[in-house]
Amino acid sequence: MGEEKLVYLDGNVLLAASTLEDKLHDETVEFLQLVQQADWKLIIGTPILLELEQLLYLGDMGWFRLRHALAALPKYDIRIVEDDHKAVLELARQYLEEKVLSQRYFANLLVFASATLAKADYLVSWDSRRVANKSVVNAVNRVNVNRKLPEIEAVTPKRLAQIIKEEVL
């Protein structure tokens, strides 16, 4: 077994894992089980809590989704990391200034900042346009290198499952 890695989950991964009827549910669960088999650590940060909180304002459906998303935390041993909020906000603003993504996607930049500052090895998201995207990740890492922060890799659960199968297990 290789070195232990830290895997930060985007909100869409947590929601897909906790929604049986979701089209990405089975692939997401398979991915989470592979991470557990590899003995890697799963985390989420404050920006994901901000997303989950919004479910409270979406009526019964939102409440239902929130309960299931939170039940997935102990089920897959997903830890909530304590962010330095000021540092997360500042770093997300730096990404915005460097035009990593437009301001419409600021929440994604908060997720990148939180994952970088948590020293995650991977940020995992089903969003292959604005998160698990090579050019976005390169732009994030240019900022990270300039600020002497660790570089991060953002991939889909499908891709990380493949990496674990080929290189770890």
Partner: protein, 66 residues
């Protein structure tokens, strides 16, 4: 496994909506406002997370005890 496009996932679409709300609430926020938003989210979500953790443990114990 058949390839599923992310747009076919309701969780993906829901998360995009949640991110829109978070963006609206935080884009122009001063640090103090952001910290307050985080504090409120924690107060709302974390107690529920602890309850869900306990109930998962109870279900596990019941399953193990047959």
């Amino acid at each position: 496994m058949a390839k599923v496009r992310e747009e076919e996932s309701l969780s993906f679409l829901l998360d995009e909506k949640l991110k829109e709300f978070v963006t609206e609430n935080t884009l122009k926020a001063k640090y103090e406002e952001y910290e307050e938003a985080v504090k409120l989210a924690k107060e709302a979500v974390l107690p529920l997370a602890r309850v869900m953790e306990k109930s998962v443990k109870i279900v596990r114990m019941l399953l193990l005890s047959g």
